[in-house]
Amino acid sequence: MSAAPTPPSEEELPAPVVQNRRWVPRLVWVVPIAAAVIGMSLLVRNWANQGPRITISFLSGEGVQVGKTLVKYRDVAVGRVSAVGLSADHQTVVVSADLSKDVASLLRTDTQFWIVRPRVGVGSVSGLDTLLSGVYIGMKTGAATSRERQFVGLENPPALPHGPHGRELQLHATRAGSLAIGAPVYFRQFQVGRVIDENLLPDGSTRVTVFVDAPYDGFVKSVTRFWNASGIDVKLDAGGLKVQTESLAAVLVGGLAFDDGPTEAVPAAAGTPGEFTLYKNETDAMAAPDGNPHYVRMRFAQALRGLEVGAPVEFVGVNIGSVIAVDLGYERQDKSFPVNVTAKLYPRRMGLAYSTLAAQGKTESDETLAAFVGTLVNRGLRAQPRSTNLLMGTLYIALDFMPASPRVPFDASIRPLELPTVNGTFQELEASVGQLVKKVNNLPLEKIAADLHTDLTDLHETLSEIHSRMLPSAEDTLSALHSTLDSADRSLDVASPLQRGVTETLSETRSTLQAVRELADYLDRHPDALLRGRRPQKMPERPAASSSDAKP
């Protein structure tokens, strides 16, 4: 630019065209656009990373805190509680939780949620870590294929929160016994699994779900029998007292046990695999399958006091069934009151006998049994009440062959089958016992007792006489004897005068005897001395012998 020396007036000169480069200031618009892009990208990323929001309903929301309570899967946090509210009917607590995106595929229809709280039970202690950190919501995925966002939470944690390897089995039983969830399952006294669920089915039976851990699930085969090893099974019956238990823990929390059943047996409940029958005890479980029961009726013409429902029916000593009803009948013809006994029989318990005898009828039907029983009745099979135990007076029904009994017609078409009966022997026994008691009664017991009493009185008198009379005199005699002995003792004492006197007398006697011997010697040598008298002493060698006492 050149400086003009004389500036012309403004009107003359054309105004310079100032051209602003308009795009430079416009660059400032990059800033809001960039901000918008960054913000949007963040929001989009956040939204894209946001996992599913689920709702879980619980009966109680104890300890659940918004924003703090975590949802954990296999003890790893996968989400957080975002809201806690009540359901529309105010009956449940609805917990909303935001889960991370990677567990979205685990949200299946049968995925389970539960609140983990510290729990102390008989079998185990769990959730102690929640004492410090607060509760959390446990999660266990299911096997279903369809997805779900709304769940009903469990009130109790599932027995297997982490889905270990193994096998789940369904056991069916009429009653579960003293079983708890988590109760152990034993195989030969070794814990291999536990009870994970119990259900009461609509038909009133019980379904127990057990889980057998992986290495041991191979022990479960089609022939495996399960039985209840719960608590203590105490049974007092005709056979005596039976106490049965699997382990101390099983006594406390109950338990199940299983083992191979008899291999030749047909698998029980041959339905879906993984379904088994739960037997009451090991004996029941290991028994050969009973098959279907068949009902028979027996008419006894005698009182059957002591025959209870459940009493065994024995065929040649083998228990093949039990009494299910005892009714009183009425016979119009002879106006008597027979006792009608209904029993169920398991013909299979007869084992080989039944299978060989009833071989012609392979199908297990009432007709087969009727024909079989007909054969037996013709051979003399009779039902007879017998006493199991004299003391308790309980009865059982024995089916036994009595060829001596009169033949009776057997109608194989009546249902239930009617078995001919004979009266029990226990009444005859009763009569003989009565006779025995009568004889004992007739014994002259009182007379014997009176005689015995008299004899005893006499004996007593004699003894008292001895005591009152003879004993004092004996005492006197003894004291006299004692004083006599005492004086004798004193007399024999060395210092006593008698003793001394005796000593002196003896020495006198000795001197005298010496003098007499000297005299005898002198007379021997001088027999004349008897006539002449004594001569002077010529023998000096014995001067002392007759110095003074040798005088005649």
């Binding site: 809001p32 901000a35 918008a36 960054i38």
Partner: protein, 205 residues
């Protein structure tokens, strides 16, 4: 009171750096201040456009600044991500209403005031409104003044993150939200700077 005569009418320009009044005619040759040599414009070019752009950028950035967590604290009793509003609510609930009020003023009230104030100024300038011209100038000065007080939040997070490092017992880390918040403060200040307050007084041609 008669209206003051404006520089445009008088053919004068003001150097905003040294305050020298320059006849406009001389600017035709040299657009610099004869005294301090800084550029002189009759009006800041594209002032409203730039202000608007910065303002929009600020508003846009304010959204993630509030949605994203500004701080992450972890300790014995668990971990927590806190947003600005969440932190305010937490302080309020725990009884520290004064701190809550302070943070609310710095991080919510002030930015909003700025957005509204700058928006109002832009709107009125665009319409060449003559309404409350003096008050609007005061408003502009206030906006300029309170701008940096919003940095309080940023400083709180920076200090906490620097001081609270006890490993397992407790630790605080800044999160993305605070960067956005810092950007909001900077951008709104730039917005206020881009605005030429002289426009408030311009009369429609």
């Amino acid at each position: 009171m008669t209206a003051l005569r404006q520089s445009l009418e008088l053919g004068l320009s003001l150097c905003r750096t040294c305050g020298l009044v320059v006849p406009r005619a001389s600017l035709r040759i040299d657009r610099r201040c004869p005294r301090c040599r800084s550029g002189i414009e009759q009006r800041t070019p594209f002032s409203t456009e730039k202000t608007l752009a910065w303002l929009i950028a600020g508003i846009v950035l304010y959204i993630p600044a509030n949605l994203l967590p500004v701080m992450h604290t972890s300790g014995l009793l668990g971990e927590q991500d806190s947003t600005i509003l969440g932190g305010i609510l937490e302080f309020w609930r725990s009884g520290d209403w004064d701190i809550a009020l302070l943070i609310f003023t710095a991080s919510v009230a002030v930015p909003f005031t700025k957005f509204i104030a700058i928006g109002l100024l832009l709107l009125t300038v665009r319409k060449s409104s003559r309404w409350q011209q003096h008050q609007r100038t005061v408003l502009y000065r206030v906006v300029e003044f309170i701008g940096y007080w919003s940095m309080l939040d940023v400083i709180v997070v920076a200090l906490t993150a620097a001081l609270m490092q006890f490993q397992v017992l407790g630790a605080a880390e800044p999160r993305a939200g605070i960067a956005f918040f810092c950007a909001v403060v900077v951008v709104t200040m730039l917005s206020a700077l881009s605005f030429d307050p002289r426009l408030i007084w311009d009369r429609p041609a």
